[in-house]
């Protein structure tokens, strides 16, 4: 809606300019991605190899799934700093179920997902019912979830023995790695929920103006709880892939700093931290931009530490170049 207003007030009302501005506002992250891919293809002939593309996709899949959940809570006007720790916690639940309690794989996965969703619900409850700011509430959850995982495994790793479990993280289906397929499915699901359902509209409404949403008979409480549940659930799905990749979970380093990467991807995707505005498609391309960037820098043999510097620059530049309030 603000889009209409700015177009109307624009000093250059010619149709071409308007279209250009509209396209840039809506799809700047996709343009940026295409430019980056073109640049990467020119700089290194191996970039467009099918093997390399698959590699990029597989590398981004875990943080990508986390970013999709993060998009929900950021559009809601919140934030979730706990996803990295929730991933470690769920991973610990999964591996403990398999190793210590010798439960079947599918039960361990269900338990892991339930654990992630539960921590998400607790986040939501603390924020809505306890009236603690999302930043602080999820910061507390971050230390709690990590600390429980560390305590259970004595800060070590838990390794599984059932090799069929590692198929999820390592095998291919029709030439596509399974983590990428999961990432794609969750993207589609998130897209449908956010863009095509009433619940999705409600998330935008609460993020845009909580008071107005409340007055339009939207249950802010329910929408908030479910959004944080989704975010916790995506962290748990990330945990399934992370644990099955190596058939083990390291309680001290798994998921470390993932929350920041996920938030970065969402921001680069054009979602506003003040809530109410953003697109899940943007997040997808935000994730891909970060993935391609680190891939091409690896191919060009640039120090991984400089990649961190570039990542920081991109986060700031993305917001500088995108439209403002």
């Amino acid at each position: 809606m603000s889009q209409v207003a700015t177009d109307f007030e624009s000093k250059n009302p010619s149709a071409g300019m308007r279209w250009g501005k509209y396209l840039w506002d809506q799809y700047s992250v996709i343009f940026a991605f295409l430019v980056l891919v073109a640049l990467a293809a020119i700089l290194n002939e191996h970039f467009l190899d099918i093997g390399n593309i698959t590699n990029v996709l597989r590398q981004v899949s875990i943080v990508g799934i986390l970013s999709l959940g993060m998009t929900f809570v950021i559009i809601l006007g919140g934030i979730d700093l706990s996803v990295g720790s929730v991933l470690a916690f769920s991973g610990t639940v999964i591996m403990a179920a398999q190793v210590t309690y010798e439960l079947p794989i599918w039960i361990s996965i269900v338990l892991g997902l339930v654990a992630g969703a539960l921590l998400g619900v607790i986040n939501g409850l603390v924020i809505t019912y306890g009236k603690i700011t999302a930043f602080i509430a999820t910061l507390a959850m971050m230390t709690i979830a990590r600390s429980l995982a560390l305590y259970y495994a004595d800060a070590g790793a838990i390794s599984g023995f059932d090799s069929s479990y590692s198929k999820i993280g390592n095998e291919y289906l029709a030439g596509v790695p399974i983590p990428v397929i999961i990432f794609g499915l969750i993207f589609l699901l998130s897209y449908i929920v956010l863009e095509k359902t009433v619940f999705g509209r409600h998330i935008y409404a609460v993020g845009g103006n909580t008071q107005a949403a409340r007055l339009s008979a939207i249950s802010v409480f329910r929408v908030t709880i479910i959004s944080y549940l989704i975010c916790g659930l995506t962290a748990a799905i990330g945990a399934v892939i992370e644990t099955s990749r190596l058939n083990s979970i390291s309680t001290s380093s798994s998921g470390h700093m993932y929350e920041l990467d996920a938030i970065a991807a969402v921001i680069i995707g054009g979602t506003s931290l003040s809530g109410g505005r953003g697109r899940i498609v943007g997040t997808l391309f935000g994730v891909l931009i970060l993935g391609v960037l680190s891939n091409i820098m690896n191919l060009l043999n640039i120090s991984p530490y400089l990649q961190g510097v570039v990542k920081g620059l991109i986060i700031i530049a993305a917001v500088l170049l995108q439209k403002r309030d």
């Binding site: 930043f135 509430a137 600390s147 510097v309 917001v319």
Partner: protein, 320 residues
Amino acid sequence: MQQPTFVTTERYQRWFSRNKIFVTLIILVFLASITSDYFWTWNNIMNVFRQASVIGMIALGVHFVVLIGKLDLSVGSILVFSGAIILWGQNLFNFDIPGSFLLGAISGILLGSLNGIIVTYGRVPSFITTLGTMFIYRYFMMWVADAGAISGSRISHTFLGHGYWLGIPVVVFPLILAAISAHFLLSRTLFGRYIYAVGQNPRAAYSSGANIRMVTVIAFALSGMAAGLGAVLETARLNSISTANSGVYYELDAIAAVVLGGASLRGGKGTILGTVSGVLMFSILNNYMNLQNVSTYLQGVLKGLLIFLVLYRQNRLREE
């Protein structure tokens, strides 16, 4: 007859909600001293202060940024950046303690001001700006030092980290000095008034003559400076800094302490006394659990629960 009682109860409630952190701190100290014989000894209390020194220094700076309703996520990385510069200053140019403090402060002010300039002139939200510079500052130093550690060898620097003066650890003095100056700056100067004004209502602050951009940049510069000074204390403890591991998540510890101390992330509310109490509370909690032989790994759980407990429904009184 009933009305006065009602007023007094309300006043007590108000007072309690405003000083919740202080009351909780006293309760915690009380519980700790009756359940542990060792807690209330001079050495142990000094340990509590010593452990609080680095995060305390950082939290004092972050306090300014939180007061204007912004966030600074880059302080952990500034600590690493400044720490490396301080140790290079000692190794290459033979700087002593005063020179180290100066180097820490200057490098911190520069990095912090850069944050402030991006936030004000680039109009990038502070969360995003400092998330970006958090990556930039740390990875730049990791690139320079190949993700390794930088070590110093000055004995005076080790004395700063481990020595005692008048029975008090030397690291505590800079912290006390910084807390007093921050308190003075906030409560006795025009700049302090402006900080609260910008946090509460930027438009009104602007109308009454505050240069909002200047106030914002200075707040970020102070935050950076505090991180730079924190780097002096951090490097003094180990006489080295690890570019990959030092200062990780310090920004979150500092913000948690500031908020625990009663500051609101929306800005305009919070005192230095509160922030110092918040820092001490985390430090006492850690110390007490160590004394009671509780697993280090469980300390995060109690820290998180403490945040929930202290902040639970605290905003309600303000909203109503």
